[in-house]
């Protein structure tokens, strides 16, 4: 489903230093798989996620989603992005639109659905994430957890084939993390292909099919949750896990 081959990505910082975000990065993700990427900050996990829908350009290598080469010069990136939902750390809801409009806008503009159809889909999704009663308020009147659930509904409204979660719970107050994780767990159980960058080890242990540990732009270790949390092999992984668990 998602195939990254020998991807290189280097950032130039404002003070002209080179930061290697992805180094010879190769990863294959199957349909229906839930992959959780963990690692210290600056290890390149968010960068990889952002490369999957080309919010970042890559320097070398190739990323395909459903066989479509994302970074090819002729790629219709808007078309490909319709199939890839993304949830951001800071929600990025549209503040000038109501909750309902947030979920219907792209359906109407991009998927060319009628207002009626878009509203029906939005209502079903808002109900699913448990926030239908807030459909007419503006995002600024919602708590962080509520905003993030709206953001998930907004991404799902495009009926994507893959969902990317970029530290979706990192900006939330602790008591709100649970409600967002519950929505994500439901999605995983329904068979959605998910790539999740997170610090929530409980989530990784419970729903991940595969856990990937990254450091300095490379995959250090990969395996099932049981493997990771009971018998990690790499010293770097052990150190990381001992610090956060």
């Amino acid at each position: 489903m998602i195939d990254a081959q020998n991807v290189y990505k280097t950032f130039i910082t404002p003070d002209k230093r080179k930061v290697e975000a992805l180094v010879d990065f190769t990863l294959h993700i199957d349909r229906g798989e839930v992959v959780v990427i963990i690692g210290p900050s600056g290890s390149g996990k968010s960068t990889f996620l952002r490369c999957i829908n080309r919010l970042e350009e890559i320097d070398e290598g190739k990323i395909t989603v459903e066989g479509q080469d994302l970074h090819a010069p002729k790629a219709d990136i808007n078309k490909i992005r319709e199939e890839i939902g993304m949830v951001f750390q800071h929600f990025n809801l549209f503040p000038h639109k109501t909750v309902m409009e947030n979920v219907t806008l792209a359906q109407e503009v991009v998927r060319k659905r009628s207002k009626k159809e878009a509203t029906e889909i939005a209502e079903a999704l808002l109900k699913k994430v448990g926030i239908l009663d807030k459909k007419d308020v503006y995002p600024s009147q919602l708590s962080g957890g509520q905003q993030q659930r709206v953001a998930i509904a907004r991404a799902l409204a495009m009926q994507p084939k893959v969902m990317l979660f970029d530290e979706a719970t990192s900006a939330l107050d602790p008591e709100m993390i649970g409600e967002v994780l519950d929505v994500m767990k439901t999605l995983a159980r329904e068979g959605m292909t998910m790539v999740v960058v997170t610090h929530e080890m409980g989530f990784a242990r419970e729903v991940a099919d595969r856990v990937i540990f990254m450091d300095a732009g490379r995959i250090v270790e990969t395996g099932t949750p049981e493997h990771f949390f009971t018998s990690p092999e790499n010293e770097r992984t052990k150190l990381f896990l001992s610090q956060i668990l």
């Binding site: 992005r81 549209f94 000038h96 639109k97 991009v110 600024s140 907004r154």
Partner: protein, 265 residues
């Protein structure tokens, strides 16, 4: 409560200001006999415009006609300044180096030279070549001048929107222009309105400079009325008052729009 207090302050300020004005007037020994009764006919008058008019009627006086032209040229220029400003503001943020370079050249060139000189150049040089009317030349000069400033305001407005907004819109499959239209510009517009209002108030005042190319705007008509009646103080005070009515109305309208747009905050 709040309103009465503000009005009280306004009244006090006005009384003090007029007293000071009167005091210095007398101290300097300027004796001037006011002829305010002469002013209304420059606003509206009842009579015949031409000697062969069949019957007398109400007509606009010179200052009112000037006001109408000032309003016309201001409205036309504001519309074109918005269009130019949007294009230039977006072009300055383009990834295309040529677009970026040309738009910043435009801004620097226009902001770096006086409007009066630009009006002369456009009227006498470009206007002669393209056979533009004085009104077209004046409106073009004002639009081009204010468009550069509006462009900078638009650019700053767009840049003030967090880049996560563009990323979220693009991640949903929207194209750059769809994201601009539905997500970035509506939000930027809200932040742009206060500086834009200031710019358009400037435009109305700057429009007085088109009187140099014999466009009969409010300033031009006031000059004529003074030459005719010799009541310089009364006429110019009246003209200033009329400019104030226009700018203050614009200011009130923008405050109303700002309040209306604040619902999602």
């Amino acid at each position: 409560m709040k309103f009465t207090r503000r009005s009280a302050i306004t009244v006090v300020v006005l009384i003090v200001a007029s007293y000071l004005f009167y005091y210095f007037f007398m101290r300097k020994g300027i004796t001037y006999s006011w002829h305010w009764y002469d002013v209304p006919k420059y606003l509206f008058y009842y009579g015949k415009r031409f000697s062969d008019d069949p019957a007398p009627a109400w007509h606009m006086g010179a200052l009112m006609m000037g006001l109408v032209l000032t309003l016309k040229i201001s409205v036309v220029s504001i519309i074109f300044a918005i269009i130019i400003g949007l294009v230039v503001g977006i072009a300055r943020l383009s990834d295309e180096p040529i677009t970026k370079y040309l738009s910043s050249c435009y801004v620097e060139l226009i902001r770096g030279t006086p409007l009066l000189v630009q009006i002369y150049i456009i009227y006498f040089f470009i206007g002669t070549m393209l056979r533009l009317s004085a009104f077209a030349a004046g409106a073009a000069a004002l639009s081009i001048f204010e468009g550069a400033y509006v462009g900078e305001i638009v650019r700053a407005g767009i840049q003030s929107i967090h880049k996560g907004q563009m990323e979220a819109a693009r991640s949903l499959g929207m194209s750059y222009s769809q994201a601009m239209r539905h997500i970035i510009l509506p939000q930027a517009m809200k932040r742009i309105i206060p500086p834009l209002a200031g710019q358009f108030i400037s435009l109305i005042k700057d429009s007085s400079l088109v009187s140099v190319i014999a466009l009969a705007d409010l300033t031009f008509r006031a000059q004529q009325a003074v030459a005719q009646s010799l009541n310089a103080f009364e006429i110019y005070f009246t003209a200033a008052g009329l400019y104030l009515v226009m700018t203050f109305t614009l200011s009130m309208v923008t405050q109303y729009i700002e309040r209306r747009m604040a619902v999602s905050d």
